[in-house]
Symmetry: C2
């Protein structure tokens, strides 16, 4: 069923996954579309963002944000059009960035909405390069990573929404950029389309040796998106005074137990100490919300000037969101994963 | 044999330890005292500093500094008197801070020497609260740890040369300070003499529960000196935006293998990410050498005003240095460990 004007398709969180999410963790509901009252707008979802952090929201383990509620629509950022307005600041047809989750329609009193330019070439970019993932790449690299021209920057999930932008900004800053990605195709794209100096398939049995060969001067900034074996390959190559912004750990999100031993925590701590390394976990809007305007200005200019490329992986129809999200955690997407919930 | 004016007692590094150092890793040599030539001074050791970092120098594993050479005197900071001078800047009897190692006498052309005030009440403090350990505590806490009044600061090795100063500076800055130390006596001293709010014996079987009880508001700054089980107890109590200066890992220095599993690296990384934690390894003079003057000024004032207490654990005679150092790695010292090589 496509989006229509009578029922509100919703993908609910039906149960909390143990390990990798499955289709059974989601359920489709189809209540009636709600009606906007005075001071409210009715939003109609056009694009829904799918992002790795959502795996954390499906769990009720303590984290930096509250878990998504069971039997409610899954949470998520959306680009919507105003379908009906009883709010003085919004008119029917306006584009807005919202956080209305995995559903066709939602009411809002305006809180947390950002109006988008009516003439945007790519409204969905507000969920990607011009939104949270792009901002994450920008601040994590430039503030926490603090790369200097000539340094070597390594970024994992190199063709993803964040990694692809990290690498391109690092190139703009004069760095050698080495990506790590999940297929030969992705690696080719990182080098040929995004301009990385090298990119290594993390499925390679000799990942560590390939990474060492691609980083003859060691690693000065490692932008951490994945954890696991990629981090293991990076750790011995980190230079003195290296910086490690910790943005995500997608390889760990479905884990139900810690890996077998030995316990390598002391190895990590010893490396941090003897090489005087800075490691910083960050949550983009909590740490850097006040610096959003400078990101918007810089990134807008880079896009206009063609200095940053951005690839989207668009999946059609809300019903396909669960499978697309499950695939995201397995690295199946190629570019920023967005669900096109409706055609406009 | 005591220090004399004909032979130069030297404690050599005879072999590199595997695991904990033993007496067999050291050897005594007694060559003749060298003679100062034009441009040189002959230094006579009065105090020798023993510090945990020396365990790293005994090993030839790659680290931030070159290993000590076999069959040469062990390296180390000393407070010396000028025994003879052929150097225009130094006169017989001058006190200097040097790095002449585990021996009675050494020649110097002045490189790396720091002249000390002739009237110092405690010349050995140049190896402790007014020297490298004090500077380490000062910069690690104030710059990397960046404590704010009202926050909770936890420091391990709480009565050691660094930890005791960390905790007292944190108190001066208005923090709640919780120490962790290796005996009931040390804990009593941390609270009653140094003014910590609480101190926990790390031998307690319920270390984690005691630490949690002593930190009802969680931990905002953990000054890492030890690693191992103490870090394990700290990790779950770290607050959002906590800072972890990594200064030392004394519990790990004698380790010959990583601990058994599971591998808890992902747990550490997840905590860094979800709580947005800053962790920074630092090596004091490499990272902060340019800020030494401000330390000297502040610490000098605090000592003069009686705001900082400093306890030394003085061991007499150079021959006892190996056993004292072995004990240091086992936590047997109580205060800054210094060998009194001669009486003045």
């Amino acid at each position: 069923m496509a989006q229509n004007s009578t029922t509100n398709r919703q993908i609910l969180l039906a149960s909390r996954p143990v390990g990798a999410p499955t289709a059974q963790n989601f359920a489709l509901a189809q209540p009636a579309i709600p009606v906007a009252r005075a001071g409210q707008v009715l939003l109609r979802t056009v694009y829904l963002s799918l992002d790795p952090y959502m795996r954390g929201r499906m769990s009720d383990a303590a984290s930096y944000a509250a878990p998504a509620a069971l039997n409610e629509p899954m949470v998520g950022a959306t680009v919507c059009r105003v379908a009906a307005s009883q709010h003085p600041d919004y008119a029917e047809g306006d584009w807005v960035l919202a956080y209305t989750g995995w559903q066709d329609y939602a009411l809002s009193d305006g809180t947390g909405l950002t109006k988008l330019d009516a003439n945007l070439a790519h409204p969905s970019y507000a969920l990607g390069v011009l939104g949270m993932p792009g901002f994450t790449a920008y601040m994590g690299l430039l503030d926490s990573g603090a790369p200097k021209a000539g340094e070597t920057v390594v970024v994992a999930a190199a063709t993803g929404a964040v990694g692809s932008v990290v690498g391109q900004i690092a190139k703009l800053k004069g760095c050698r950029v080495v990506g790590i990605a999940g297929s030969a195709d992705k690696c080719r794209s990182a080098v040929e389309e995004l301009g990385f100096d090298a990119c290594i398939d993390h499925h390679s049995p000799d990942l560590a040796a390939q990474l060492e060969a691609a980083c003859p001067q060691g690693i000065d900034v490692y932008f951490e998106n994945v954890g696991g074996k990629v981090f293991d390959a990076v750790l011995p190559l980190l230079n003195t005074s290296a910086r490690v912004p910790v943005c995500g750990l997608i390889s760990q999100y479905n884990a139900t137990a810690l890996p077998d031993g030995p316990d390598r925590t002391p190895l990590l701590m010893r490396t941090l100490l003897s090489k005087r390394i800075h490691m910083q976990g960050f949550i983009i809007f909590d740490d850097y919300g006040h610096r959003y305007p400078e990101f918007v200005k810089d990134m807008g200019e880079w896009l206009t000037q063609g200095k940053i490329q951005f690839r989207e992986d668009i999946v059609d129809s809300l019903e396909n969101a669960p499978q697309a999200f499950i695939g995201l955690l397995e690295g199946k997407n190629f570019g920023k994963l967005v669900v096109r919930v409706a055609n406009d």
